[in-house]
């Protein structure tokens, strides 16, 4: 139980903390320019053999040792070997998957693989004999060949660089995990031998290709020469520099280049349409929006001004009518991500409507993303808009702030899900739920309910808490459902909770600061927590420990609410003038009758008083900490309200209010801060029972059942 002075003190502390300007980040910094020298440089030449479904490539790599350690070896990701056979880590994990894609393996002839046929230093020394496949993730899958290690003749000294030349050939899989072909449509991702990330003191960070995981790589400058049969449209990461036709071979070679990205993907399809438009910051963002954003972030207007970006859309002919929807969504994403987190630093962004059956419905790569759509999209459902905003957003969270997706996927998926929800809410408002029959959209006809993303995210978040902490390595989640619900939705729900706890302006500065500080870097969860604490001026480490590092359910609620008339006289034995005097029931009735008989103002009590007792309960295991507390508001019949703050540490607390009116309701978390709370129903207690809402529910429920029954009756 908390006494009133303590509550007042806690309230004061809370108010001071919330209103105080952040100590060290009153002004969010402007984003850094693109660094001049990344750790890696690639030049790749690749030929697409359409008939054999093969890639043949040559790759030159320059890797600079930026650590203080001599590095004796190099680890490479050979991701396509995940699709080589059923002994790979990828398919071993898929085989025991319990939610999505359980046991799905390619059909005979559809497997894919990559072979490094030659690897040597620039001076010609052959590293081939040192090649070995390594498996360091647990449990160890002996058959996996997705990580290759080579040893250098002598270690690479700090500050030195190493130049390698690789020859590789790859069998393109019939699409698995968003890479591969269908007929002569290709989506080519994770295709070239790619070094891991060398971490000082830890060595190479180079995980196997896991079923529930995405990727991690160092920033690099890429130049890629892609040769495809004549007539193929090509979309790629980066900017196209030149195009050369070889009439004799019937091929076209396109050269794409991009600085400071950590991956490179491309697609090729002879049927595809290419549409280009320009995002013009001066046109898309009003002066007022610039001023408001600058004021929100505490920056000069010039620091939030957005540059022009060339938007490229590669779209299937059957979807050409949707081009405007695609560009509108992409422009909204460029605008809001740019305003909130920093201008998009690259010249181009390529949006790919993934070729039919290449199953790359939504996937991010630097400066390129895929966003799947249907042939009859509903006007009311935010699809493909949602996936376009989300995948472009990964250009910021994964692309620019390049966390390790193997180990801490929430840092991009969770932050980006949170960001996607904000952009969609701002640009479109709530989207309708999808409903279709045999592919015909019915959402508009049946006026499906519209909801904001955070509502859906929360529904998943509260249902996944028992399985895994958000802070779990991607391949260690219970299943793909837990992985998805945790790293996307529970993480997003936690971020929305922090936003509500600290307020939108503070959260905006947190996100801007985090993005700016780690743009072109590899931050970890600790870095994010430090930024939150620094910008907010509060220590919220407990929040991440309790709600993201644990599997604790968060649920505060009202246990009971009772209002009773305060008796003016108490029964029993009382000491009076040195005697024991019993106040009997009969005597109390006499005194009450006398009180009533006296004229008003003749020494009678001013009015009836009521004692209201509210029992607060902590139903869940998770606790608020850091002096944050749980707010309680009690409303009384005379229209007055009382607010208290409970520290929320014990399992319950009982608070009393003596007022001249009965309580009519009580509510914890009246401001809706704790979005992560698993039970909103018990957050409030109304003395008068709810009727209309429940009758409406009953009417709808009965109507639904009546229709189901009648459907059954039609067969009898």
């Amino acid at each position: 139980m908390t006494d009133r002075p303590t509550v007042v003190l806690l309230l004061c502390v809370l108010v001071v903390l919330l209103l105080a300007p952040p100590r060290s980040a009153a002004q969010a910094p402007a984003p850094a320019a693109v660094p001049a020298t990344p750790v890696l440089r690639y030049e790749i030449w690749v030929d697409l053999d359409d008939a054999a479904k093969m890639l043949r490539g040559t790759e030159e790599i320059v890797w600079t040792n930026r650590t203080r350690e001599a590095v004796p070896d190099m680890f490479f990701h050979l991701y396509w070997n995940a699709f080589k056979n059923s002994a790979s880590t990828f398919f071993r994990e898929t085989a025991v998957e319990s939610v999505f894609a359980r046991g799905e393996e390619p059909k005979d002839g559809d497997w894919g693989w990559v072979d490094v046929t030659d690897i040597r230093l620039a001076d010609g020394r052959d590293l081939g004999p040192t090649r070995e496949y390594v498996r360091r993730d647990t449990p160890v899958r002996e058959g996996d060949q997705t990580v290759l290690r080579v040893r250098f003749p002598e270690p690479v000294k700090p500050g030195d660089n190493v130049r390698l030349r690789l020859e590789f050939r790859s069998k393109i899989p019939r699409t698995v995990a968003r890479s591969g072909y269908y007929k002569n449509s290709y989506f080519i991702g994770q295709w070239f031998p790619k070094p891991g990330v060398y971490e000082e003191g830890k060595g190479w960070n180079c995980h196997e290709y896991h079923a529930n995981s995405e990727f991690f790589a160092d920033f690099a400058d890429f130049t890629v020469h892609i040769t495809v049969p004549q007539g193929f449209e090509v979309g790629s990461s980066g900017k196209e520099l030149t195009r050369t036709t070889d009439a004799a071979r019937g091929t076209v070679t396109r050269i794409f280049s991009q600085a400071m990205v950590h991956d490179f993907a491309w697609m090729a399809d002879p049927r595809y349409l290419r549409v280009e438009r320009t995002f013009a910051g001066a046109r898309e963002v009003s002066p007022r929006e610039y001023r408001e954003t600058a004021a929100l972030l505490g920056l000069p207007v010039e620091a939030v001004r957005l540059p022009d970006v060339k938007m490229i859309l590669l779209i299937a002919p059957e979807h050409r009518g949707q081009a405007d929807r695609h560009f509108k969504a992409l422009a909204a994403a460029i605008k809001y991500y740019g305003l909130w987190y920093g201008p998009y630093p690259y010249e181009t962004v390529t949006m790919v409507d993934p070729p039919f059956r290449t199953e790359s419905g939504g996937m991010e790569y630097p400066t390129l993303f895929t966003a799947g759509t249907g042939i009859l999209p509903s006007a009311d459902v935010l699809s493909p808009e949602g996936v376009i905003v989300h995948e472009f957003g990964h250009g910021y969270w994964y692309g620019l702030v390049a966390n390790n997706e193997f180990e801490e996927a929430w840092l991009d998926e969770g932050i980006n899900t949170y960001s996607t929800g904000r952009v969609l809410a701002r640009a479109y408002g709530p989207g309708a739920f999808s409903l279709d029959l045999a592919g015909i959209p019915l959402a508009s006809l049946f006026r499906m309910p519209r909801v904001l993303d955070h509502v859906i995210d929360r529904a998943a978040a509260i249902n996944t808490v028992a399985y895994d902490p958000v802070l779990t390595a991607s391949w260690r989640f219970y299943n793909s459902g837990s992985y998805g619900a945790n790293v996307y939705m529970r993480a997003s729900t936690c971020l929305n909770t922090i936003e509500r706890l600290l307020g939108e302006p503070v959260m905006a500065r947190i996100m801007r600061t985090f993005h700016t500080r780690y743009r072109f870097g590899h931050p970890a969860t600790g870095d994010f927590v430090r930024v939150v604490n620094e910008v907010s001026g509060q220590d919220l480490t407990w929040f991440f420990d309790e709600l993201m590092g644990n599997t604790l359910n968060f649920d505060y609620g009202i246990g009971s609410l009772v209002s009773e008339e305060k008796p003016r006289h108490s029964r029993g034995i009382f000491d009076a003038d040195g005697r024991k005097e019993e106040m009997t029931g009969a005597r109390i009735r006499e005194l009450e009758a006398e009180d009533k008989a006296k004229p008003a103002g003749a020494g009678t009590p001013s009015g009836t008083l009521y004692v209201t007792t509210v029992t607060l309960r902590r139903f869940g295991e998770a606790r608020v900490r850091g002096g944050v507390g749980v707010k309680l508001v009690v409303g009384f019949e005379d229209g007055t309200r009382e607010t208290r703050l409970w520290d929320g540490q014990d399992r319950w607390a009982r608070l009393e209010f003596t007022k001249p009116a009965r309580a009519s309701w009580a509510m914890v978390d009246p401001d809706g801060v704790w979005l992560v709370d698993s039970n909103f129903a018990n957050n409030s207690y109304l003395v008068r029972p709810v009727r209309r809402g429940l009758l409406k529910l009953l009417a709808r429920l009965v109507f639904a059942v009546q229709n189901i029954l009648q459907l059954a009756a039609s067969f009898s």
Partner: protein, 288 residues
Amino acid sequence: MSVFSSIGRGMATACRKPRVLLILYLVNLAVALLAAGPFYALAKADLGHSLLGRNLQALDFVWLGELVYRYQNAAPAVSAWLLGSVLLYAVFSVFLSGGTIGRLLDTEGRTTARSFFSDCGRYFGRFLRLFLLALPCYVLALGAVPAALSALLGPMVENARTAWTPFGVTLGGTALTLLALSLVHMVFDYARLRTVTEDDPSSLRALRAALLFLRRRFFRGWGLYLFIALGFLAGTGVAAALAGLLPGESLFFVAVAVGGMQLFILFRLWTRMVFFAAQADYYLSGHP
């Protein structure tokens, strides 16, 4: 005999039998209330004193998410309860069909609860046998048509160049399955009608007679059936559109919405009566 005049007379007959409609409606409502009861009790316990209950939306994902979280282990019990209710009602509908057809075909007598349930009891055994005969036919229609289409068009879908091909096949397959179901439905409707008109206890004879009747008038008979089905679909579309036009959540509009829902159920039940009455008219015109 025109199909449309049979539909017109069927609608008129259904309109002249409001008591049949009332009985069907009350039974439907009672079973629905029984089936929905536990869920309502659960909602009341959860939301009866909560602000969330006061502000509940039509499809409230805030509450639904919580409901799933708290009662995820109850899913088998919930499914069993709903499935049990549906099966019970399906059998009960067999029973009610006797009263419905009996009263619709009795153009002279008044419809009373006694006469209605007397017909229900009289034809229940025969209709139950027809229902049991119909079940494998429905399973065949639901299983065989998609399977045949898959075997026939599977390679085309497998080699599709664009999403239009699987879309077209799915749409066509759905339409064909529905048409197959409508055929089974229609044949057994005529078998039931024949059972009542001829007062013949043999279900097989009734089914044979229905098939013979339809063999001579297949397209007209099917056309009649499909016109009524299309009318029902159009009515459903109109009802959905009208429901969306309701502007507010005030008590008045809530009452209008609830009334609208029940009117739709009445419309559904009335359509079922029109099916029987129009097909009966058409059948009797072929068997004067």
